[in-house]
């Protein structure tokens, strides 16, 4: 499956194999990785939590929207949940396309959309033992029907 929320470690090479086509000359892979610091504090790990069933649906929607914006491209996206140590991959987005500009643009836009709309939260665990839910984005909600 090209879209997934997973508790297992992400294998970037496996995500790349989900894209590509004989008419595609470019592939772009983005990896989000847990950093050892944030806003000046030393981070030990991040616990990613998701509304998993919904997150998988939203991720599929975001991927479908991105593919529709640039017909012909292929996308795979995997978001991990659970407690991740520094250096572990939280998000992998792979895009293939005929030419490189649309692969770069689609990958970048999809990462932004994921951060804006995917029902996922992260709790940073600091090396001093404290933990904190990171401030996030209020997801866009459709207007009420009239």
């Amino acid at each position: 499956m090209a879209v997934r929320i997973t508790r297992d470690a992400i294998d970037p090479a496996a995500v790349l194999t989900r894209v590509g086509a004989s008419e595609h000359g470019a592939e772009v892979l983005f990896l989000g990785v847990v950093r050892d610091h944030n806003e000046g504090r030393a981070v030990a790990s991040i616990r990613y939590e998701a509304y998993e069933a919904m997150a998988e649906r939203v991720l599929a929607t975001l991927v479908a929207e991105a593919e529709a914006r640039r017909p012909g491209i292929r996308i795979a996206a995997v978001h991990r949940v659970g407690e991740l140590r520094v250096g572990e991959v939280s998000l992998a987005v792979a895009v293939s396309s005929a030419h490189r500009p649309e692969a770069f643009d689609a990958a970048r836009e999809l990462v932004e959309e994921i951060k804006r709309r995917l029902p996922v939260w992260k709790e940073e665990h600091y090396t001093d033992g404290e933990r904190r839910w990171l401030d996030g984005h209020t997801p866009p909600v459709p207007e009420a029907a009239r």
């Binding site: 990613y48 992260k122 839910w133 997801p139 909600v141």
Partner: protein
Amino acid sequence: MRIRLLLFALYRDLAGTSQLDVELPPGATAAMLVEAVRSRGGGFARIPPGAAVAVNQEYAPLETPLSEGDEVALIPPVAGG
């Protein structure tokens, strides 16, 4: 009617529970559900009245009328990636 409410992340921590069954009058909206939860006081009252809501796993406006059996979730500001 009975609505199954799911709470995540910060809101779950505030509420002290990840799941709640809430009794509401027929025709109640998502906004009324949020109000009913907030009126429990304590940590519940710290959930914002304008919290984002998903109904049956889709983002929905607070004006959305609910139906018996709906799965409703309160969605704190998201921070994936």
